[in-house]
Symmetry: C2
Subunit: 258 residues, 2 copies
Amino acid sequence: MNKQNILVTNDDGINAKGLRALIEVASEYGNVTVVAPELGMSGMSHSITMNNPLYLRRIKESDGMNIYACHGTPVDCVKIAVDAIMKQQPTLILSGINHGANSNISVIYSGTMGAASEGCTYGIPSIGFSHIAHRNNIDFTAVRHYAHKIIKTVLEKNDNPFLCLNVNVPDLPLEEIKGVRVAHATKGYWRENFEKNMDPRGREYYWLTGQFFNIEPENQDSDEWLLKNGFVSVVPIQVDMTDYTQKKAMEKWQIESL
Amino acid sequence: MNKQNILVTNDDGINAKGLRALIEVASEYGNVTVVAPELGMSGMSHSITMNNPLYLRRIKESDGMNIYACHGTPVDCVKIAVDAIMKQQPTLILSGINHGANSNISVIYSGTMGAASEGCTYGIPSIGFSHIAHRNNIDFTAVRHYAHKIIKTVLEKNDNPFLCLNVNVPDLPLEEIKGVRVAHATKGYWRENFEKNMDPRGREYYWLTGQFFNIEPENQDSDEWLLKNGFVSVVPIQVDMTDYTQKKAMEKWQIESL
């Protein structure tokens, strides 16, 4: 296997335990450059920083391991890494390991997957990893184990430069995980229960607290079903959001005559 | 045509001229609720506010016209409007009019389209409108003209509750626009020229300044070609990011044996 030039990023920020676990994994495949957000960027999706300058903090610059923190979003991190920092374009981009699930349509809100899908717009295969638990003391052993298997498979078998994979790992000890399955993002929707409160200055505020409604709970090809049943789910992601089925349906609308 | 219950939002913020133009358009179809970001939120994509509370400022509450500013992202605005503010679920969501283009894959970075695509996750037909010029003194006459035509067509002909349309209008006087075409999001990628500078405290910073590379400039079905040739482009958008073609291709990878 050729030595890789790997960019690692995440959305939980430069100090996250999941990032350290992913750097360890990445370092077994070649040179590693880390550009991760200075601050937590959960829920930042595919956002970019347009109205502020980006500060970059050099943490480590040495042979085979360069680490930077960037005062921007996960997508900013990928852009500044590829277009300004790295001397050679990365051959692989890894994002995560996220603390919390990015299954179902959550991928559209996820900063972890924002970074990964930005990577694939550069024609660089990109993989986002998430552990579905939110708690602080996550054990990343199982994610590391399957990250190695998936990275090796991608390096051996993938020929698509625009590959982007969304990998979620269930909250189970390694020995209880049943294996890996390719899946689709579970169809459903998030609804919010806004918690209303009053700040010390008498101003009302709301906390966004959501819940996912799964409209295909029995679909064994969906990532939610697989995760609930002890599998690691791998969903291939694409960035063309055009709805070609709807486009076809709209031919009847005779929109050309407007 | 039945009276609509319309939610209007944008990403340029509550004070944007484009928002006022869209409120004017919306008010001809029924009751209007506006929930727009307090601050400019360009490039905020599908991001949600997870680590801060959301403040809501009541600007106007009257029969048929309610206006609020929310200290969050465009997607936060849609969520708080539908799940906390509006007594009845909206029948239509309009986002914009954005000051600047949201054609090609820019839709993944766009706050305007983040709000519109969030709307469609609620099963509410949603339309984002953008004028492709960035300058301050945009004349929204042509966008208003075509917004009416497109809204009327959707209300008459659409039967898909998950409809999401991305409408871009060229920078031309109304009489020079050639018509409307349904299109796909132009394939290509953004590359950044990071401008490096030094702040008064001696710290380096970077400005993100991008350029779009069109890999199908002659494709007459692409939104970029249509806009360059004087047409209004309408791209239907979907939120399932699963790449089903890649999923099929990965069957050969035998990932179940990992």
